[in-house]
Symmetry: C2
Subunit: 267 residues, 2 copies
């Protein structure tokens, strides 16, 4: 039984592992964001190795990544007895929390109102850039942006429109959903196809490995474009179907208790 599960686990990890996307520090950020956002959450060094080791990542690479993450203020480490434990800093927690709603939304909120901001070509860029920093805007050329909801304050320098109806041309669809993004999303969807059924009996660490892989790859899709209604999607956009696969799988892999990551498989 264990052998059969371990074999399924190994095949699945290979399938979900993205050799183009093996930045270890980034995988660790995905892991902590997924499972250790509470201020009290700690992940031991050995648990970390157990969870991301199966992806083919060596302990030395993990040490280097942790060093970098500490230097960048994402992660902090301490010792409990002879064990080193790692945890998100307040800043790392805040950054994780900021993107959590977008990563874990089973169905993105549908946007019902839009506005357009237009800057003067010869100047006025700075106001547009200031405003765009504070929200998710879609750039339309260098002087205009499309945003959800009402027109923000402090836009006196800009020509602003509240949009009643809009029609989206193919060039804008292809600009928002660039070929690289479509490829990243298509690759993930193909990796997830055929993984609809998760066998019973996986260990907590195995579940954590799979969650981390899925979340890590999904982050790269979902955070690289704004959540837009279908009228913005190019014909070949696999995002909606990919999201269904992601949560079809994640929902079968409930977040393990961090204290059980050292436990043997449940069988």
């Amino acid at each position: 039984m264990t052998e059969k599960i371990d074999s399924w686990f190994g095949t699945t990890v290979d399938r979900l592992n993205d050799p183009k996307n093996q930045r270890v520090w980034s995988i660790i950020v995905s892991l902590f964001g997924d499972m250790a956002q509470d201020p009290k959450d700690r992940i031991s060094g050995s648990a970390l190795t157990r969870v991301i080791g199966p992806m083919g990542i060596k302990p030395e690479a993990i040490r280097v990544a942790l060093h970098r993450l500490r230097k960048d203020g994402w992660i902090d480490s301490s010792r409990i007895g002879r064990t080193s434990v790692h945890f998100l800093t307040p800043s790392g927690r805040a950054q994780s929390a900021a993107v959590t709603p977008r990563i874990y939304s089973h169905a993105p909120e549908s946007i019902t109102s839009w506005h357009v901001l237009m800057a003067q070509e010869t100047s006025g860029q700075s106001t547009l850039e200031d405003v765009m920093l504070t929200q998710n805007y879609i750039s339309i050329g260098r002087h205009s942006a499309l945003g959800a909801g009402p027109v923000p304050r402090n836009c006196e320098d800009l020509l602003t429109f509240v949009v009643d109806k809009m029609s989206v041309p193919n060039w804008l669809r292809n600009q928002i959903y660039a070929p690289e993004l479509i490829e990243t999303c298509t690759d993930l969807e193909q990796a997830l196809q055929g993984l609809s059924q998760v066998p019973a009996g996986l260990s907590a660490a195995q579940i954590a490995t799979l969650r981390t892989l899925i979340v890590h790859r999904w982050r790269r899709v979902v955070l690289r474009h704004p959540d837009l209604p279908p009228e913005f999607h190019p014909d070949n956009w696999p995002g909606t179907s990919c999201r269904t696969h992601v949560f079809g799988l994640l929902d079968q892999l409930p977040r393990p208790n961090l204290n059980t990551l050292g436990d043997p498989p449940d069988h």
Copy 2:
């Protein structure tokens, strides 16, 4: 009595004459557009001299201008007995008719709905330019335009918005109402001030001279900007007041019958 009227007429012509704007062919276009748009309308060479001569334009300059207008297909000429007569060609009539509603509107129709067209920066300019040719659009930078009414057909290449509300910044006001336009309009308004009362007893030709001068200068104001609601006007825009003065005067100078242009003053 005649002397007093002739003196008022002379002063008024001097006042309305714009030395910066003495293109004779253009004055003739204004005259025909104002008084001879009917296919049967004919203006004799002597009537023409009588109407625009008082502006200080010599017969030789009129001959040169008529030659140019015939070459451009605006005006055609023929002879009735020993008299040469001039008239608008079908094309000249069509071009005059196209701008007549804008020139003679006492109060521009208020625009209640707007749309925005946006072309892709790297291409797609041509669709925007094609559409802009067919209507009065306000250019906003090189890739966008604001137009009245609904989105036209054949805009699949463009990002289009039906506008619900809009807020107009100063830079756009100053772009539409450029300093030269404001100066042209201010000059005309100042020339018209103090001309509120037209004396009785002007000849048909004198009325025609005054109408031509007013229409000619007003054309240069009204056709150089789209008719826009007050939210688009810069603070120093004299257009609304200028329009009031223009029609306050024109309405006292009813279009003369072309056959009476040779008649002596009505006193």
